[in-house]
Amino acid sequence: MSETIVKSEVKVPDSLKICTVCAANNNRSMEAHRQLRDAGYNINSFGTGNSVRLPGPSVDKPNVYEFGTPYEEILNDLMSQNNRKTYEANGLLHMLNRNRQVKTAPEKWHLNSYAGKFDLVITCEERCFDSVVDDLMYRLGKGQSENEVSKIVHVINIDIKDDNENAIIGGNGIVELVNMIHEFRRNNKKEVDDPSENILEDQMMKILTEWQKNHSHLQTIYTVAYY
């Protein structure tokens, strides 16, 4: 029952390099990943947890996998368990089925240097935001060659409840915000009274405030950091 991964094609020519981050790189970050991919953005996704933890037969018995375990494999494993009905009912199988069409396996944020540097990191939980910023602090000056110059990265947290429905709503909100940022970058070719109006870093707080007003249920945190 192997389905091919829909090849992610960057249809937005001026897309920033974006990634979404949640704990297990399965639900929230993957739903947002899918939506952003469908919208044509250059997108990756990661998890900040120590391992991939998915609901199990009971709260104290989660299903735990290593990052890098293909979604296909996880899906097969869950299907082989006795609790298949539960996993079907709580949407777990549906989620993994979606994931394997997006990419091969969950990836760990802390080991993602192979993916290059991102311009925009969107985390889906405050804990993940903390973890990403903490890691960026850690990375500063570590393992950098003398040639390497750190670059600016915008890190935004959008707090999304970890369930199926909220992942979709959160994903919609993320796409909207990403659209707003790209729209701003496209408009900034126009002549303005003050060039500051065209600088993303100067206007990011205004963009976020505007977005926040329309998405009061999706709380935000934001920082500029170095990568």
């Binding site: 405050e126 935001f129 903390d130 910023v133 903490d134 960026l136 602090m137 850690y138 500063l140 000056g141 060659s145 003398e146 040639n147 390497e148 110059v149 750190s150 600016i152 707090d159 009274d193 003050d194 060039p195 500051s196 600088i199 993303l200 870093e201 100067d202 990011m204 707080m205 205004k206 976020l208 405030t209 926040q212 007003k213 009061s216 249920h217 709380q219 935000t220 945190i221 934001y222 920082t223 500029v224 950091a225 170095y226």
Partner: protein, 705 residues
């Protein structure tokens, strides 16, 4: 042969490819490219900055080559750092970070290279000095606003400043990168105390951001993140940094006039979160010394509780606590646009909120009150603020000058004619039915009229000096239309000014209705005489070249006076016979008028006066060989009175010019029969004078028959 930007960019692109493909060529290519940095075209400058960034970030070059290139690039980089372009400046900062590291180490290892060290310091100064401003953007009208402007450059500059601090201070902990401790303690250029002092002051400058009364998360957060790095390397700064953090409290900051309350509340949340992450990060790395432990733990606790509290509520919703938020005192201008919307003074000078304009017309105040107000305001205003205000106005003025046409068009498009403006100005009781008249113009005093006439005269003489391209006469129509279309000036020609000026003096100053003896008329003739005198003086300046002018003027003078007087005389006769005509004594009024009119001579006293004046003035200056112009004048003047002819007498008795005099008389006798009697009279008088007797008698014999 000059190359276009496209040509140069193509060439550079090829060189780039060659360089990146063949490491042996690379240094040479880079040095060639450096020559293009100062090219006038910003596109080429930008290309160079991108190229240099790629060069110093690439691993293609050998370390030694890279160091050499870094040294050679410094001057170009200093130049580029002063180019007013944000994209270039951003690249410059990144390049400078690599170059600073390479060159600093080079100097550390090679004592005595003063020039290299001097350039490195120049580069460092050029960048660090720009951190507190908004370079490459121009400062705005308000310092508070500038704290939120061009954060991009500041965020980038933080990286550079941290590198400088890192390299210029020793590290206690074991680091595998450069450590200032390794520099020879007796190095002649790198003086430890001096460079460390400089680094400390750079750090102090960064930490000053925490003392600002406003919160700018995109600036303060990256500083905090960089401090986490610095604290790991430099334990000598830990106390200093933690003291600043200890005293920093987002809830003591003020809302800026350039952020909404929602934006301010979010700002506090965002900064609080980064402080929390920062402190927990420090705890994890055991970087908080004992004496800070409890205060920092407390701070983390406060921040966690505050975060949880915020999570439970919708932060952008109004809350009773919002009342505690205080705003920074506003020192900017509500209307700071440097582009005017229309060509009106209101738009040029207004710095206040347009929607909040006081509906009060200051111009209704008496001047002395206004002066007092202005003096008081000038005394109270801060010099810096006044300068900013004047800057805005001058920028608007420049913009208006540069975009005049566009602004005019805009007005037309928007239908903003003057009447509309009046409505905008608050004339609310405008009634479309009533007819509004402009107030009648103020009557000019005689003195003012004189001044105006003198100005007109000066302008016309100025016109006489300008060269005008001759317009070819269009072919005239035949028949009756030819006469109908006859006008004095069809095209503006070289001599057109004279036609207008002479007519102004003659026909322009009186009408047939005016009473000849009224004060007005006297005054007007005085004004006419101003013009006449000016014309005469003009003629006398150069009688030989300006004879045509005088003939034309005197012809106009005679013609207009004759027409005027004829009409006047006819009117007088008509008035005389009107009663008889009405009572039936005269049947044909027109015939009667013409009959009477025919008997009369129409006097032209003005013409007589001025033609005499002209002749009296020029005769003394005529020379023996001025035959041509004098005879021309005599033949072309419309009427020669016996007095005028009499003036020739003085020429005939002058032994040097008697020939000219007699020739003129002879000419008149032959060609101007109406003055024959007058000429013969003159000859008779001359025949009684011994010197002219012979010649006079000769002519008398010939013409008196």
């Amino acid at each position: 042969m000059s190359f276009t930007t496209k040509d140069i960019l193509n060439g550079l692109e090829q060189a780039r490819e060659a360089g990146f493909n063949d490491p042996s060529l690379f240094p040479q290519v880079v040095r060639q490219v450096l020559n293009f940095v100062t090219n006038d075209d910003i596109l080429i400058k930008y290309w160079c900055s991108t190229f240099l960034k790629d060069v110093f970030e690439s691993d293609t070059l050998k370390y030694s080559d890279k160091v050499d290139l870094a040294i050679d690039t410094m001057e170009s980089l200093i130049y580029l750092s002063n180019v007013e372009d944000l994209k270039i400046f951003k690249h410059v900062i990144d390049i400078a970070i690599t170059i600073f590291k390479l060159v600093f180490q080079f100097v550390a290892e090679n004592d005595g290279c003063e020039d290299v060290w001097a350039n490195l310091n120049k580069l460092k100064m050029s960048l660090t000095s720009k951190f507190n401003g908004t370079w490459p953007l121009k400062d705005s009208d308000d310092e508070e606003k500038d704290r939120f402007r061009n954060l991009l450059s500041k965020i980038e500059l933080i990286k550079f400043i941290i590198v400088v601090i890192d390299y210029q201070t020793y590290s206690n902990s074991n680091v595998n990168s450069f450590n200032c401790r390794m520099v020879n303690i007796n190095h002649s250029l790198i003086k430890r105390d001096a460079i460390q002092a400089e680094a400390t002051s750079l750090l102090n400058n960064l930490l000053d951001i925490f003392k600002n009364d406003v919160l700018v998360p995109p600036l303060i957060n990256p500083v905090i993140i960089q401090l986490s790095f610095l604290m790991k390397r430099k334990d000598q700064f830990v106390t200093k940094i933690l003291t600043v953090i200890e005293n920093f409290e987002t809830h003591e900051k003020l809302q800026s006039n350039y952020q909404t309350i929602e934006e301010f509340k979010l700002s506090r949340k965002y900064v609080d979160r980064i402080i929390r992450i920062f402190l927990i990060h420090l705890q994890k790395f055991k970087l908080i010394p004992g004496d800070f432990q409890s205060s920092m733990n407390k701070k983390v606790q406060v921040l966690i509780e505050r975060g949880d509290e915020i999570r439970r509520k919708n932060i952008v919703d109004p809350s009773p606590l919002d009342e505690n938020i205080k705003k920074v005192k506003f020192t900017g201008f509500a209307n700071f646009s440097k582009k005017v919307k229309s060509l009106e003074y209101k738009d040029l000078y207004s710095l206040n909120d347009e929607s909040n304009q006081l509906n009060f017309d200051l111009s209704t105040l008496p001047p002395q009150v206004l002066v007092t107000m202005i003096m008081t305001a000038m005394r109270k205003v801060e010099g810096k603020r006044l300068n900013k205000a004047l800057d805005i106005v001058s920028e608007r003025y420049k913009y208006a000058l540069e975009n005049q046409e566009e602004l005019k068009n805009k007005r037309i498009k928007l239908g903003m004619d003057d009447e509309d403006d009046d409505e905008d100005d608050g004339v609310t009781n405008y009634d479309t039915k009533s007819v509004y008249n402009l107030p009648p113009p103020k009557e000019l005093s005689f003195q003012e009229k004189r001044e105006q006439i003198n100005m007109i005269i000066r302008n016309f003489f100025k016109l006489s000096e300008t060269n005008i391209k001759e317009v070819e006469e269009a072919k005239q129509e035949e028949g009756i239309n030819k006469e109908l279309t006859k006008i004095a000036i069809k095209h503006w020609e070289k001599k057109s000014w004279l036609v207008i000026l002479t007519r102004l003096a003659t026909r322009g100053m009186r009408t047939i209705d005016s009473n000849d003896h009224s004060i007005d008329n006297d005054k007007n003739s005085e004004l006419s005489d101003l013009i006449r005198n000016a014309l005469m003086d003009f003629f006398l300046e150069n009688i030989h070249a300006r004879i045509d002018l005088i003939i034309e003027w005197l012809n106009e003078e005679w013609y207009s006076e004759t027409v005027y007087n004829e009409l006047k005389t006819k009117n007088e006769i008509k008035l005389k016979y009107m009663k008889e005509y009405e009572s039936g004594n005269i049947t044909d009024l027109d015939y009667k008028i013409n009959e009477e009119f025919e008997k009369l001579d129409i006097p032209t006293p003005i013409y007589d006066k001025w033609s005499t004046k002209i002749l009296t003035s020029i005769i003394p200056f005529l020379e023996a060989n001025d035959r041509k112009i004098f005879i021309r004048l005599l033949s072309d003047l419309p009427v020669l009175s016996p007095q005028l002819v009499g003036q020739i007498k003085s020429l005939c008795v002058d032994p040097v010019r008697s020939k000219l005099g007699f020739l003129s008389i002879q000419y008149l006798l032959m060609f101007r029969p109406p003055v024959k009697e007058a000429c013969l009279d003159v000859l008779k008088q001359l025949s009684e004078i011994e010197d002219s007797k012979e010649e006079a008698e000769k002519l008398l014999a010939k013409f008196s028959a």
